[in-house]
Amino acid sequence: MSRAFDLVLYGLLIACALAVIRTKDLLAASIIFSTYSLILCLVWQLRGSPDVALTEAAVGAGVTTVLFLVAVARTSRRER
């Protein structure tokens, strides 16, 4: 069961990573990247490292996403 759940999480991780690369809309890419961090945070927790999971949730999913969004807001939304 937990093995199957792991595989689902890994599948979602790879899907998110590919989606971030393929998306031309930078706003959407930032949000997908935040999803990637949240899934990775679950993976860390399941691997038994709550400290890293907390950091991933706070820094990866929270702060860097906002910084990306500010950067997008101040530049251009489409990738050229």
Binding site: P50, D51, L54, A58, V66, L67, A71, R74
Partner: protein
């Protein structure tokens, strides 16, 4: 042509890499190098030697304290670099970000306001209990910083910045570096070496307060730095 060349290069590069992977010791095997040198010592003696039930904190603040001291210096230097690039004074055109065309949703405002005290309690708990439960200065500080960013988004940066006036902020930003220096030098005066914590003897009671002080420094500094980077990028001064 270029595509074929890229593919060939990738395959060529992947052969030695995959070969190296095949030489790695099996995952989880007991006699892997990662489990045979310092790790058993940390796991067996860590709580006793450092007073940290959380081994991660024991390693971060105690065994590898110098590395962490270097890391907080790097983070502070990164903030200085962000300021150096983004806060170049432009006297003629004072570019103010136009207010967002979409007003803040009352739902968002309500949720941020309701959750704010709980978020603060959660992160303060993490920072103070970093030596015994998961989390610590870095995590708790980032969460407070994220809360300041959320507050800036719903109430506007200027109202949020009034919580941390500029004079206070300038001293909070290097808090982690300063706290490391204070605790390090105190340890040097009392026990002979920079950043050494008591292991036994009459000063043993100072061990947990020292660790907590460093955690608080990292937390306060981290929060100030995260929020300042956001404010600098947004254009409302760091």
């Amino acid at each position: 042509m270029r595509r074929a060349l890229t593919l060939a290069l990738l395959i060529l590069a992947s052969v030695p890499l995959l070969y190296a992977v095949s030489l790695l010791p099996p995952v989880g095997s007991e006699d892997n190098p990662t489990y045979t040198y310092v790790v058993p010592h940390y796991l067996e003696e860590g709580p006793e030697e450092t007073g940290c039930e959380n081994i991660v904190t024991a390693v971060i603040l105690n065994y590898r304290g110098f590395d962490t001291g270097g890391e907080v210096t790097v983070i502070f230097t990164a903030l200085m670099a962000v300021f150096g690039v983004l806060l170049i004074p432009r006297p003629a055109e004072k570019v103010r970000q136009p207010e967002s065309a979409v007003p803040v949703s009352p739902v968002t405002l309500f949720i941020v306001r309701t959750l704010a005290p709980f978020i603060v309690v959660f992160s303060v708990y993490q920072i103070i209990n970093g030596h015994s439960t998961p989390g610590g200065g870095f995590q708790g500080g980032t969460i407070i910083g994220a809360l300041l960013i959320a507050a800036s988004l719903v109430m506007g940066s200027e109202r949020t910045q009034r919580l941390l006036p500029e004079g206070v902020r300038r001293w909070l930003q290097p808090a982690a570096v300063l706290m490391f220096a204070v605790v390090g030098v105190t340890g040097m005066l009392l026990f002979g070496e920079y950043l050494s914590y008591p292991i036994e003897g009459e000063y043993l009671f100072l061990r947990v307060p020292f660790l907590t002080l460093v955690e608080i420094g990292i937390g306060v500094g981290g929060a100030a730095i995260v929020a300042s980077i956001f404010w600098a990028m947004e254009g409302s001064d760091g």
